[in-house]
Structure formats: structure tokens, C-alpha cells
Amino acid sequence: MAQVAMRESPGRSFMPAAFRNAGADALCMVAVLLLAALIIFLFGGAAMQRVVTYAAIMLTAVLGLQIFSGNSGIVSFGHAAFAGLGAYATGILTMPAALQRTALRDLPQFLAGYELSFFAALAMVLVLAIVIGLLTGTPLLRLTGSSASIATLAMLIIVYTLLVAGREITRGSQPFYGVPREVGLWTAVGIASVALVAARLFRETAFGLATRAAANDERGAAAVGVDQRTARLAAWVVGTVAAMAAGAMMAQFLGAFSPRDFYFDFGFTLLAMLIVGGMNSSLGAFTGVVVTIAVIEIVRRFEGGGEMFGLHLPVLFGLTQGVLAIAMILVIWRRPTGLFGERELNLLRRPGGRAIPASAQPPLHVEHDRLAADHLSRRYAGVVAVDDVTLAFDTDSITGIIGPNGAGKTTLLNMLAGDVEPSAGTVSIGGAVRAASAFRFARSGVARTFQNIRVFPAMTVLENVVVAARQVEPDLGQAEAAAMRELSRMGLEKSADQPAARLAYGQRRRLEVARALALKPRFLLLDEPAAGMNAVETAELVSILSAVRTERRIGVVLIEHDMRLVMNLCERIVVIDHGRVIADGTPAEVQNNPAVIAAYLGSRTARAKTASETTANETA
């Protein structure tokens, strides 16, 4: 009894390891921020305090950008617009009513006369941010990659146009003034600290993991059940909240501002800060802001021109922008991931840190089930890749799909995995699954690997598997334990904390299998699992696969060109040629099937072989 309790205790500690580690990192960064603020508060002048306050506000905005762009890999220009919206909303909500009547004469009644305190206004702005985030994110995130970036740019222009044109509410391009200046050093530092903790923790949440996985490899992510649109939307909304909070503070910090303050240049400054530090981590955002603010403060002294070391300096326009641009180019050129973007602090993940215990719970035997293709066809512009295939696979079996190159094997597998929409026919797992959707299929028990490996190179080996485990384990701690179990199954537990990119080829293949198994699938589809492996690795793989099949009684379907592997491992073989099933049976049956020989070696060889066999039989 005591032993069981001891074994369970590390897994049940108060927080999953990923959150413990993230929490420690966040607290460390917050401590540095608070310490810096305290030193400036005690020893710095009013000007220095303003600089640090400004830095804390920018940090909040940059973290908002990092939460979205850092995790999703989509550069956003729109966060400047969100900050603008936050600033104007706060301005209107906190402005003294008497001043409002003169400054904003045509303000609609429902917006007028709130005179809220800063924090009350902030609360309203945050609610507004969630609404705006959902409204803008839903359409924008239908786009991917560079198109999505440009769409955020369109959004920036839309918001700018609205701010300039909505004269009754914003005074148009004229300065909006009269906002009480209540945000000081400690308010800004406090809110920035919250943003730091949020950004650091967000990476490890289900949404953060899913967003990063989708940014690494879209199809791979869908194959492990990641609903990338929802995950991205979550990152977008959280980022919007942080950006609008920064805008709210900016309003009360500046007191007067105009739409131009939240347009392209502001967006550029935010991006430059994030890129210099490194966009992939909250540590990057933090250091980026610190470094660029320091540089800006130094450069600003020269902007007005004057004498310096006996040299006459001319007045320079936009010197700050120029220096930021050069800093950004240098960083991208010399260190593309930014000064600190490659990793978080990972204080608890140093060598000697506590390892995550593998879940002792044995994987369940799956109940009997059936994956069935019913009159499945797929045409590509005139080419029929798969032609009216009807097949069924049971759990507790291993089936090999073989056939010449271009026979339609991978297309069939893609349809079975929900990755490709059938032109005709249906796929069902127990009950029929609605329209082809890779992530829904993955969640309903069909896991797969790819011919060209699709692991998430920038994530750690453990994270790769946790993404999948999270889809079936609602609790992160249990997901981590389950992921460790699958890694040990595949002999990868030693590399758990390495980035997947560092694994050797064979290890990456095994990682992909571990990841698929973490989904607790009823069916495992493998697309050429032994491709590129040597004989030893292949033998290892065969033993692992047959062990997994007996342990869990799942249905394994694999495409393979290595005939020895297929004949040894599979108890049933389906042969496909020109998109049609030409043979289906035990290895022995298939090997002697004349149609199969014809497909592989040509019809003449087939006839010769049949003839020679007939003669042999006759002689016998």
C-alpha cells in the first residue's frame, strides 16, 4: 500500500511538471522586473521612473504580441490596433464628465459620463478585449501563414480608419486629451507582471501546446487531434487582452494621444522589440523590451542634434525607427531566433531537475471495433487515385497494404485518417464520422504516422507526445505521465527534454509512433514506417509493433515496401493497384495470387510463373 502511494506521489504533486517549471520561470522574471522597479523607485528620478513605466507598458503589449505570434508563428501587425482601441476606450471611460462635455461634444449618450477609476475602466476594457478578440479572430484565423499576417495588417488599417473617421467619439486625427494620468510605476509594473506570468504559462496550456504544434507542422498537428483554429483563436484572444490592457495603461500614462500613435510605427516598434529579444519565448519578449528601451533611450539623446565630442550632429528624423530597424536586421541576420528566443529559462528543467515519472497505469485494451471504408473513391483532376474501395479493418489485427508506386495506397490511408476528403464513399469507425477532418478522426481513435516524418521540430520530444496525450487526458499531469510511458515504450525517455529536431532519423520515426500511441488509438495507421531504416532498426520496429499490438489489441494498418517486414509482421495483406483492391488475404495467399504477380512483375512473368507451376504440378 505504502509503496503504491509513494509511486503515485510524484505524479500527483500539486502541479504538472510543465506548469511548475513555467511558474518558476515566470516568478524569476517578475522578481527581476520588481527589483528593477524598486531600485528606480528608490534611487531614480522622475524621468527614469517614466522610462520604466513606459517600458512596463510596452512589455505588456509585446507579451500580447508574443502570446499570439510566438506560439502561432504568424506575425501580427494588428496588436498596435488593439492597443489603440484599449487606449480610446479607457480615455472615454475615465475622462471627467465636465471635460468630456466640451472636448467630445457629440459623444453618443450611452458612452458619456462614466468617470470610472482606472481599474474599473480596465475591467471593462478587458471584457471588451475578449469580445473584440473573438470578433476579429474568427474571420482572420481562417487564413494561414503570410496571408494571415497581411490580414492583420488590413485590420490595423481598418481600426486606424475607424479611429480617424469616428470623430464624435475619438476627435478624429486631432489629439484626444484630458485623460487623467493615474497610471504610475507600480500599476504598470503590476500589470506587466501579470502579463509575464500569463505569457509564460500560456505556452504550456492545452491551447499553447496545440498552437505551437500547428505552427511547427499543420498536418502533423491535425493528425494528433489538434483543432488548430480553436487553439489559434485562444492565443489570439489572450494576446488581444494583453494588448488592450497595455493600451489602457498607455492612455492614462500619456494623457493625450491621437490615432497615429497606434498605427504603423507603433506596430513596428512592438515587432522590433519582440524580434530583437526572440519571438518564440516570453523570456525573449522580456529581454527584447529591456534591450530596445535601453537603446532607444540612448539614441533619443542624439535625435535633436547638437555637439558631441566636438562633432556637430545634425537633427535627424526618425532616428529611433532607423536604429530599431538596424537592430532588427542585425538580429535576424546573425541570430534569427533573437537574443533569447530559442528557449525559456526552464529553471526546473536543468540536468538533475526532477524527472517526470512515467505513468505506471498499463494502457487499456481497446474494445472490439471496426474501421470501415465503404465504396471509397478519390479523383484528382481526371486521375482516379482510389477507385471504389470497400475494406474493413478490425481491432487486434495487423494488416499490410502493398502495391506498386502510384497505386493509391497513401491516398487511401489519408482518407482513412480523415486527411483527404473522399470524392465518393464513406469511412466509419464504429459509427459513421462526419465530413473528413483529420483532427476529429484522431480524436475518435484513428492515429497515424506520415511517410515524410511530421514531428514538431522546435518542441521538445516530451512536448511532442504531450500534445497528443492532451487530446485524450484532460489533466496535464496525467498527460505528461502518459507521454513518458509512450516514450519509454519506444526507448526515447532519455531524450525527453531535447528538441525533436536534434533526434536522429530512426528516433524521429519512433517518436512519431510514440506520439500516435499517446492518442490511445483503436487504430494505428503507419505510412511506410520502415522507410530509410537499416535492417537492425527495422527489426526493432517490427518487435515493438507486434508487442504493442498484443498489449493493447489495437488494429494496425501499415503501408510498406519492405516485403520481408510485411510478410513477417502482417496476418492480412491487401494489395492495391491502379486504385483498386486486387487481392486481400493471408501473406501466403497473396504471394501466389497471379494478379499480384502481374501487378508487381508484369503480366508476362505472371503467365510464365503460372505456367511453370502448372507444369510442376503436372509433373508431380
Binding site: V75, L143, S147, S149, G318, G322, I329, I332, P336
Partner: protein, 293 residues
Amino acid sequence: MIAQQIINAVSLGGVYALLALGLAIVFSIVGLINFAHGELMTLSGYALLACLVFGLPFPLAVLVAVSCGALAAVAMERVAFRPMRGASVTSLLLTSFAVSSLLKVVFQNGISARPQAVAMPGWMTGAFSFGDFTIGVGPSISIVVSALALIALELFLRRTVTGTAMRAAAEDFNVVRLMGIPASRIIATAFLLSGLLAGLAAMLWVAQRASVDPLMGFTPVLKAFIAAVVGGLGSLPGAVAGGFLLGIIEVLLQATLPGAVAPYRDAIVLSGVIAVLLIRPQGLIPAVRAQRS
């Protein structure tokens, strides 16, 4: 009046189409969204100004200015983007963003932050009439030039080896390199063409406004980005379609919107564009790309 508006719409659409096409050519081959495209336009504008100030005859000045745009594009690729070859799409995009900012600062400090007047020949601001219709010379030239440029580019892409290689590279660059065609030549040609188109667009833009300023390229190129996305990022016919669509919608809204709503024009146009993308996320004419399983 209606005829005049249609001419204006098509001429603005033509400028957007040239710019979007330049962006699309580079994007389809290198995967770079070139934020500094607007600065190529500005640079051509300043080159025209300089030529006219030095007393070059107008046609020669235009020729020099357009070539300056093209050469600047090639130089930009050589200096800023070639060291980054193989970098991620995001890094390329951010580099061009930084280059754009840097060039703006250079223009502001090296020339002037204020707009400089360009002395356009008088005949360009005239108009000719067909019975009741009065049609401006500027917009008409703009349409003719856009149309000629599009036809010439189409011929180049269809009839020459480099053009064919470029169309192939847009679908699958690696295979084109395996065919023994040097990558650098393809990329340099792509930038050259995009610079030529930016230069032409700059001439048309300046012809209608008769002034140059450091931010001249900023707004039209922003619109061109959006046109390229609406058309289908990386698709050349898509870029042209998107450019014309955006220009036409803009001018028509300008003409028809009541005064109180007119300031919201850009917001309305862009929201409409995003609505188009909701229905067709790949754009009007999606780009074809090689896919491997």
C-alpha cells in the same frame, strides 16, 4: 461623369495591379512578402525628380527612373535578402519590414521629410472629349501603360526560357534548380521584374499627384498587399485581379458614398475584402503549389 469615374477606377486598379503583381512575382518564388516594395516606388519617384531637375527630357527621365527602381530591387535582394536565403518566411518578411523602415528614415534625412513638387509636362494634366464625355489624359495613359506592362510580362513569362523557368519555380523551386537553372538568376530576375513594375507604378502615381515624399509608396503598397492576398497570395493572375478589384471598389465607393460615411471608406473596402477571404480563404485565383505527401 460616370465614364470619368470608370476610367479613374480602372486606372487606380491598374496601379494596384502592377504593384500587387510585383509582390506576387517575388512571393511566388522566394516566399517573401516584400514590405520594402513601397520604398522601391518612392525611390523611382525621387529618381524622376532628380532627372527632371538635371534637365533630362521627360521620356528619358521616365526611362531612367523606372530602371532605377528595377536596379534598386536587384540591389536590395543582393544586399538584404541574399544573405538570408533559406531563412524562414517570417524572418524574410521581418527583414523586408526593417529595410522598409530604414529606407524611409534615409529618405527623410537624406532628401526631405516634406513633399517635393515634380514638374510634369502640361499635356499630361489635360483632357480630351468625345462628344459629352471628358476623359483625363493622365488616367488614360495609366490604363494603357498598365495594360501594356501586363501583356509584356505575360509574353515574357510564356515565351522566354527564363520566364518559363520562373513560372515553374513558382510551383516548385527545388525541381527547377535540379533542371540546371541557377537559383540566383531566377531570384534576381524576379526582383528585377518586381522593381520594374514598382517603377512603372511610381510613374503613374506621380503623374497624378505631381509630387514625391518619403512615404509616397506606403499607402499604395499596403493596398497592393491586400490585393495580392485577395487574389491569392503568390498567384500572378490573382494579383492582377485583386488589384483591379480593390481599385475599382475604392473609386466607386468614393463616388457613391454619402459625405458622412466617406471617411470610413478604407474600413468598408477592407472589411469587404476580408469577407471575400472568408468565402475563399485561398483567394480569388489560388496559387498552384507542389505538394508532397
